[in-house]
């Protein structure tokens, strides 16, 4: 026997649809439709000629995707992006976890202040921050080289040396993002029941052992979540290299999204650009599926 409210809500789907209508229509028209359109465009050679004259548009099937395979710049961008993700994600996650553990310690009061310091990079505008870091990295006038000179390290051209450019971007990116994951980890830590730790204390476990056998396993779902959103986000990196290095030197910091932007909005090879976007999507999709599968197999 349904309660009055259950009956009410079941019979009142009209109201539900009305409530949903604005948001869903907006999402449909301005998100799903463009995704579909991008998919279609990736099968054409939409470019600058097409902008001036529609009749020059040709349907080229999988040609753009085939071209991608043959495109050394695409592979370079892919390599750079993977380098970035594989280096930055674990680093960021490790640092945010450590920070969360520290801040969660019962020995500390005034957590708010330290949390503020760690979190400030997260809320600030990326462009503004990238500009500041660009000057910090200046080979001659930047404070990073200055500080390093005190420990006897010669000036490094952080953004101009092909070997150091990506590490520089990784460092800045980790600095900017670790606060966000730290908060998520703190939430996860607070959900671990106290009794587990008390039991471990009784058995005489020390700090490290507690972390290894209680904290980390209990944090597993949170860690998975953090890893997922961090990886997905990092695959899409654009603004940092755009502002700091424009993809150079020697295309060593060119990322997939940047390449997509260049092809689409600088050279106006829009069909090609759309195919790059979809390849990115497929990569992220596969990566997400893999991570979920790994987690499932562990359970």
């Amino acid at each position: 026997m349904k309660s009055p409210s259950q009956k009410y809500f079941t019979n009142n789907s009209k109201a539900a649809y009305l409530f949903l209508a604005p948001a869903i229509s907006a999402i449909f028209i301005f998100f799903f439709l463009p995704v579909l359109a991008a998919f279609i465009i990736s099968f054409t050679d939409f470019d600058i000629y097409t902008l001036g004259d529609w009749s020059t548009l040709r349907f080229v099937g999988l040609n753009n995707y085939v071209k991608l395979i043959d495109d050394p710049l695409f592979w370079q961008a892919l390599q750079n992006t993977f380098y970035y993700v594989v280096a930055a994600a674990p680093l960021s996650i490790a640092i945010s976890l450590s920070a969360a553990l520290l801040l969660n310690s019962k020995l500390i009061k005034y957590k708010g202040i330290f949390r503020l310091g760690y979190f400030m990079p997260v809320v600030t505008t990326l462009v503004a921050v990238a500009i500041v870091w660009r000057f910090i990295y200046h080979p001659k006038f930047g404070i990073l080289n200055y500080i390093l000179s005190f420990v006897g390290i010669n000036p490094i051209d952080w953004l101009g040396d092909p070997a150091w450019a990506m590490p520089s971007i990784i460092l800045m990116s980790v600095w900017k993002n670790f606060g966000y994951n730290m908060i998520i980890f703190i939430a996860g830590l607070q959900n671990i029941p106290e009794e587990l730790y008390e039991a471990a204390d009784i058995e005489g476990a020390n700090g490290w052992q507690k972390i290894k056998s209680i904290t980390l396993p209990m944090l597993a779902p949170t860690t998975l979540f953090v890893t997922l959103i961090t990886t997905i986000g990092f695959f899409q990196i654009f603004a940092e290299p755009y502002v700091m290095t424009q993809g150079g030197p020697l295309n060593k910091t060119l990322t997939i999204v940047q390449y997509m932007y260049q092809e689409g909005f600088r050279w106006w090879n829009m069909g090609y650009s759309a195919s790059i976007a979809f390849v990115l999507f497929i990569i992220i999709f596969i990566g997400t599926m893999i991570q979920l599968k790994i987690q499932k197999s562990k359970d």
Partner: protein
């Protein structure tokens, strides 16, 4: 003893974390050329506001600031409206296709937004909205994360309240307006902060759709400035500061909600 070590470590690391900001503030108060010296200076000889003067008087930063402020506010208010209605519907109503629709929305969060940029640009061009506020407002009208957060929150609103209102003869929209919204204020504030910050900080999309200097938001104007004044770090730092300050103020005042929101977004149902 352990406590002292911990405090020291925390103190040093958080200081290092905010060090770039400190340098930014310091350099923005320097005169032209003062920051491009070796060895680098950390404190200006004479603090001056001349960079800010240049920004606002010569470079029209006030217009950019206004654009950012108006756009962030409009998008926040509108999207709160749209998202809250949808979130409420998903939480409290039963209708055909509810679960499939919701799951579709969730999984589509994987799609990188860059995929949509080109067609969206063309669509907006045909609507005549390029280089207007609409180009920024329209894609921001609703977002899946917001709907998800609100639904999450609304699930915990007791059905009995709604039942009681219905017995009193209240219509659907009245229930939404008078009962749900007031109860949802915490999550609304959280979402408002997310949206405001997100819109304020947005860079790539405004870069693409805004072509007039007078329409630029602060991040775009800043990147523009970077393209021209690479040799003027002091000016760039002042610009960065102006861009970041509102965001930091919003965060400082409302951080409780913001952080709670992140936590809520991460907890599985």
């Amino acid at each position: 003893m352990k406590r002292i070590l911990l405090y020291t470590f925390l103190g040093i690391t958080s200081f290092i974390t905010i060090l770039p900001f400190l340098w930014m503030v310091s350099a923005s108060l320097m005169n032209d050329g003062e920051a491009s010296v070796f060895p680098p200076v950390f404190i200006p000889d004479y603090a001056t506001l001349i960079q800010f003067q240049t920004l606002f008087v010569r470079l029209n930063a006030a217009q950019n600031f206004l654009n950012s402020l108006l756009l962030s506010t409009i998008v926040t208010l509108l999207s709160l409206f749209f998202n809250s209605m949808a979130g409420y519907a998903f939480a409290k109503y039963r209708f055909a296709g509810k679960n499939s629709l919701f799951n579709l929305l969730l999984t589509s969060m994987i799609i990188p937004s860059q995929v949509t940029m080109l067609p969206l640009f063309l669509l907006l061009k045909y609507l005549g909205f390029i280089n207007t506020y609409m180009a920024i407002v329209i894609p921001g009208l609703a977002n899946i994360f917001g709907i998800f957060l609100i639904r999450q929150y609304c699930l915990s609103i007791p059905d009995s309240l709604i039942e009681a209102a219905k017995i009193d003869g209240a219509g659907d929209f009245e229930i939404y307006q008078k009962i749900i919204l007031p109860l949802a204020v915490p999550i609304l504030v959280t979402l408002a902060i997310f949206t405001f910050l997100g819109t304020w900080n947005d860079f790539l999309w405004p870069l693409i759709v805004l072509t007039d200097n007078s329409m630029y938001t602060l991040p775009v104007a800043l990147a523009n400035l970077m393209g021209e004044h690479t040799k003027d770090p002091e000016l760039m730092m002042a610009g960065s500061l102006v861009t970041i300050i509102p965001v930091i103020i919003v965060f400082l005042v409302l951080q409780k909600y913001y952080i709670k929101g992140i936590m809520m977004g991460s907890v599985k149902e």
